[in-house]
Subunit: 190 residues, 4 copies
DNA sequence: GATGAATGAGGCTTCATTCAT
DNA sequence: GATGAATGAAGCCTCATTCAT
């Protein structure tokens, strides 16, 4: 019978933090996070220097996971549309399966406790995403604006889509497809 | 010679709250808000039962203002595009002139302290907006989804646009126009 | 029947702090100090930004009181010995009546929480003391060393004297006289 | 090739404690002491039942070392002045070479965590010192007071001297000589 | 009505100590 | 013996809210 692995405690804290932040916002108390992680309150601070560190680490962890979700299986050789659609689906699907993380992210993104450094690191996607977005932006009607605008549109339209899915999961497929068309139209539509 | 109006004190509190919430998030202390409004700490609670009330009132006040900005001068008889563009411009322009309020709103909208009732009231625009959005949604490729989806897209694309403008104000015009085209394409683009 | 004066609460805190620091050292908890002052814990922080401020204020308050004790009635025109003896007696008597303050001071003086600025301000006596010490130092065998050395000897010999008095109060007079002779001999003795 | 001796770990702890206490006061954490000693946090408690034990042990260790410094080479047959001067020089020289220990001692001596027993043991010198002090006290003007008063004066004047030396090491010799003269004058000066 | 001093619950963080490995 | 992860009590401090003036 396997006994609880040593060191696992640390790993439990970010998940608990995500859960609590999703529920209560970034003002979720460290005590409640620790409790929900099944560790003593003091233990939290063995692993995270202070609450800000924890918050920032959770933030970048989620950002990383998002990127990984989009990176895995990415058809680097596909057509522009195929690539864009792949990214879209990967992102929206990830969001659908990670409601808690999305909710936590919504809180973290507007929190002043996330450092600018971390925020910037979060924005810089991995190369293939950035490249696809750049191509897309260059081709579309937004070509005279920074490609980051296209990227922001991607994120915000996807966010809107995911929110709608969360509210009405039975139509997930429909929203996902419609969301992509909306995005595509936003960038390239006449 | 106009003397300071009685009751002015109350009116100063929401503005101060907006300022402080924009700066510090919803965790801005009531003391700091009172101070910034030039009233005593205790006086705040003569006007607002508790902090939550204040927060909710600020929320709906801003929402109201947004609506008024969009309503005033609305060309009810114009073409669909004319009307949509009017709304867009009115909204984005309002945002450009109300940075503080936008920032406060960003904090308030994710706060769990804003009641669902209030949130819903915020979403329900005034009739002309809703009507325009419905028409738009019905005509576009999103016609099989609730018109609230189109409305959410309007808001999120506008938000993205305003953020870009805030970061690079010299290109405000460009962003505003491009933003509208993006929105238009999102809803109607082929 | 006089009711408790408003604002008196603040004044009670330093006395309580002295009491507690004397008993428990500078690690006396703010909670215990507040309790002993008869105020809520939070109230302490209305008056003192943080514990360090309180500690430093207590430190300089006691230093001030010491100086006042030595200054009041000082025979500025007396002989050197008369003046030195006056200072000695004033200081030692003050210490005898202020056991708690002396004990608190013993803790505060070695605490790293007292700022260098404050420490320096504490060292700078009022002019008459400094002047007397300078004259004394110049005349004695320590004339080739900074006069601050003589002053430090004054303080440390007095401290030793006061400690002995505290341990055996019946001999207070004897110790006080002997202490002065010791100090006098230290500076001028053959 | 000498390998690190077993049991060395224990010996490293008091030195580390001295270092840390000198830096941070008696509130130096056991964790920081352990780290500075190169042992695990928990190991400290294998050697010292608790922090108080460690503190007390460090205290008496330093006191012992002081005594040894004064005892070694003590001219038991010398004149009273020769013996007193020997003790003085030995003590002041020891202090000059042991700044850290003096600083730690300054913290420990005022700490309520040092037991009365230990304190008393610290005061009782080894016989030759006590004897010399008694002779001195008996001969001087303080002859009607307990000889411990003379001993306290020795310590406090020496302390003052060492502090001055620490602040201005180039004048060490001058201070040391002047300090002894001051002490001598304090006890015997006319 | 207006004030701001007073409150105390609750939040973050430190740290001496224990104990399974 | 040695380790260091884990603990939770206790410390400092903030803040929404009350209420005597």
């Amino acid at each position: 019978m396997p006994r609880p692995k040593v060191g696992d405690k640390r790993a439990d804290i970010p998940s608990a933090a995500i859960q609590k932040i999703a529920e209560d916002g970034v003002s979720a108390s460290t005590a409640s996070i620790a409790k929900s992680a099944g560790v003593a309150e003091g233990s939290l601070f063995r692993y995270f220097e202070d609450k800000d560190r924890l918050l920032n680490e959770v933030y970048s962890e989620i950002k990383d996971e998002m990127r990984r979700a989009m990176a895995s299986g990415f058809p680097a050789e596909g057509s522009l549309k195929a690539r864009a659609e792949y990214l879209w689906n990967a992102y929206v699907n990830w969001g659908g399966q990670s409601a808690r993380k999305r909710q936590a992210m919504a809180q973290l993104s507007v929190s002043y406790r996330i450092t600018e450094t971390n925020r910037k690191a979060g924005r810089e996607g991995f190369a293939p995403i950035t490249k696809t977005m750049k191509e897309l932006a260059a081709k579309g009607k937004l070509s005279r604006l920074p490609s980051s605008f296209a990227q922001s549109l991607f994120l915000s339209i996807a966010e809107t889509t995911m929110t709608s899915i969360a509210e009405d999961p039975k139509r997930a497929e429909q929203y996902r497809a419609a969301g992509f068309e909306a995005f595509w139209g936003a960038i390239l539509g006449k």
